[in-house]
Amino acid sequence: MTSDDSLSLTRGAAGLVATDVCAWFGGRLVLENVSLGMPRSTVTALIGPSGCGKSTFLRILNRMHELVPGAQLAGSVELDGTDIYAGRLRATDTRRHIGMVFQKPNPFPAMSIYDNVLAGLKFSRIPVADRDALVEMSLSKAGLWNEAKNRLRELGGALSGGQQQRLCIARALAVGPRVLLMDEPCSALDPTSTARIEQTIAEIADDVTVVIVTHNMQQAQRVSDTCAFFLAAENEPGRIIEAGPTDVIFSNPNDARTMDYVHGRFG
């Protein structure tokens, strides 16, 4: 019996539901009772000013939060009905089902582009029938194939920043995740690379549910189907103020604070 069987699900995009999620850092509550549904095959944007717990929430969704010393949490996160915190899934398996792309591109600099794409499979010792095909598929999905196909043996660090970030997306996709979490993936990139990655997000959204943290209102508007607005008052933990379809949040939100934020009046 392998641990994959414990999650008896078919591959493909999956919905995520977070219920009453709280988070602590060293005893300080930073996130209070956050509940959010992230439907299958959609793009959800998490917006809000800095320090309101968006990234913490994102890292709770694939159990990266617990890597921080002194971090604690409560609540549940369900991946197509299976609670990732209920004990049946291991953190490592959860992270294979729910991939992550970080703010700063972090390809493995000592590995070739080819090996970078296959890194996740190598880490997990998953046998691959056709490596070349998988590399081509992942790089194509991430929109890097045409630029990288003739330099697959070059080191990952030799690419430009935008290409590195797309390599990281390809690397995450190669494992076959059902959800992809992106933590401000474009904040370190130039506008052209940003546009390229936004295009990539739109293309992969059918195969994988995307949750993206962004500070860029236009980006949230462009890429996401639904949107959640986080806010933390002074000395208080972060909460979701409002969540809903992106066009509603941006045109006609319920809460005045949401209106102010999406129109750049504070934060």
């Binding site: 919905g15 539901v17 709280c22 209070e32 299958r40 604690q72 009905g81 979701i240």
Partner: protein
């Protein structure tokens, strides 16, 4: 909840009317549950039984150490096999690796604790007051009360003098070298750094042989305590230099620029800002160097040579030292001396421990910001007076050095 996720919900109370909601208890998720503890304990227990039967009953071996090694080996094998059967191979490898890493670290801690504890247990009870006041000149193995008539006072005096002189030379030289490497820079830096690195690996016995070959063999001097100091100086110089340099490097560059911008000269900056800021770290470096010098034995053969009588003069005549006298006791085992040997080991180790703990305590940074601020303030007052004396010169100096610092 299979295909369609529920519509996005808002969870927070709207407009600041706080609804009391129950917050879940904070947890740290762990992938190591009760069942996993069960596997661990079961593996430990069954491998113990297995090895016990094989080791003591079938092969009739003896020795606790061998038993532990075999037990540990079969425990790892069993643990890996069971975990890979119940969970999977990746997890099994991860668990076994964690176990190995924890064992490795515990071994080191265990050995240190064992050595310190053993020396204390064996030595502390045998320490007598006369060990600190008498030397070995009245030693006669036949005397039943010999332990009341002998001691290692001569070795204590020797060690203190030799190490003291070595430190008195080494610390200033090390600080100057470190300042040169870190603050002055220039072409020689690379060479000096390589030499320091290479010196740090110099076997201690070679340092002793070297001092012997230039001073004793050439008849410039005879065995004496200060020769030992010279050898120890060679040995602790590189480590003190390196640690000091590291400490200097973490003094923030902004502090230097601030001082230079206030019109202080480069020398003044190093003297009044950089060195005082790095003082606690430099004390740590020096004390650790001294702690190591106290325990060095090999270079003393050829320099201090050793002696049974008190010789307080480090400049003339053979001198004893604590590690050297201890080695003598160990190499010429005489019943009466065993207790004295343990006591000497205890005294030596205590000395090293005290220096070590002192180094840690004094090296602990105080509230650094406050210290720096006070330094800068005192500097402003001082440099205001010097500004009147030679403003142009100082300004030019600071300008050039700022250029040098910012690439």
């Amino acid at each position: 909840m299979t295909t369609l996720a529920p519509p996005p919900t808002t969870s927070a109370p709207v407009n600041g009317s706080p609804m009391p909601r129950r917050i879940g208890t904070p947890l740290r998720p762990r992938d190591f549950g009760l069942a996993d503890v069960g596997i661990l304990v079961a593996s430990l227990f069954s491998s113990f039984l297995l090895v016990w039967v094989v080791f003591y009953q079938l092969t009739l071996l003896s020795g606790g150490f061998g038993f532990l090694v075999c037990w540990y080996g079969s425990f790892l094998t069993l643990y890996w096999t069971v975990t890979s059967q119940i969970i999977d191979r990746r997890v099994a490898t991860d668990r076994v690796f964690s176990t190995l890493v924890i064992t490795g670290a515990s071994l080191v801690v265990g050995i240190v604790a064992f050595i310190v504890g053993w020396v204390t247990w064996k030595g502390a009870t045998h320490v007598r007051a006369n060990f600190f006041t008498k030397d070995m000149s009245h030693f006669s193995p036949a005397d039943p009360h010999v332990l009341n008539k002998i001691g290692v006072a001569h070795a204590i005096v020797g060690t203190v003098e030799q190490v003291g002189i070595a430190a008195a030379i080494a610390i200033p030289v090390a600080v100057v070298t470190a300042v040169f490497l870190n603050e002055v820079g220039g072409r020689g830096t690379r060479l000096v750094r390589t030499v320091v690195t290479a010196m740090s690996g110099l076997p201690s016995i070679v340092a002793g042989v070297f001092i012997y070959s230039i001073l004793v063999e050439t008849s410039l001097s005879h065995y004496a305590g200060f020769l030992a100091s010279l050898a120890l100086f060679i040995l602790i110089l590189p480590s003190v230099t390196r640690t000091t340099e590291e400490v200097l490097r973490i003094v923030p560059g902004g502090l230097r620029e601030a001082s230079l911008a206030l019109g202080a000269s480069e020398f003044r900056t190093v003297w009044s800002v950089v060195l005082p800021t790095a003082r606690s770290g430099m004390i740590t470096a020096s004390l650790l160097g001294i702690a190591i010098a106290v325990g060095e034995t090999a270079p003393l053969f050829f320099t201090a040579f050793g002696n049974n009588n008190m010789n307080p003069n480090p400049l003339h005549g053979a001198q004893q030292a604590l590690p050297l006298v201890l080695l003598d006791f160990v190499r010429t085992p005489q019943g009466a001396l065993v207790n004295l040997a343990y006591a000497t080991a205890f005294i030596l180790l205590s000395l090293v421990l005290i220096l070590f703990v002192l180094a840690r305590v004094l090296g602990r940074p105080r509230t650094k910001k406050a210290v720096w601020r006070a330094r800068l303030r005192s500097l402003t007052q001082r440099s205001k007076t010097s500004e009147i004396d030679l403003p142009k010169n100082v300004l030019m100096m600071s300008a050039t050095s700022i250029q040098k610092e910012s690439p």
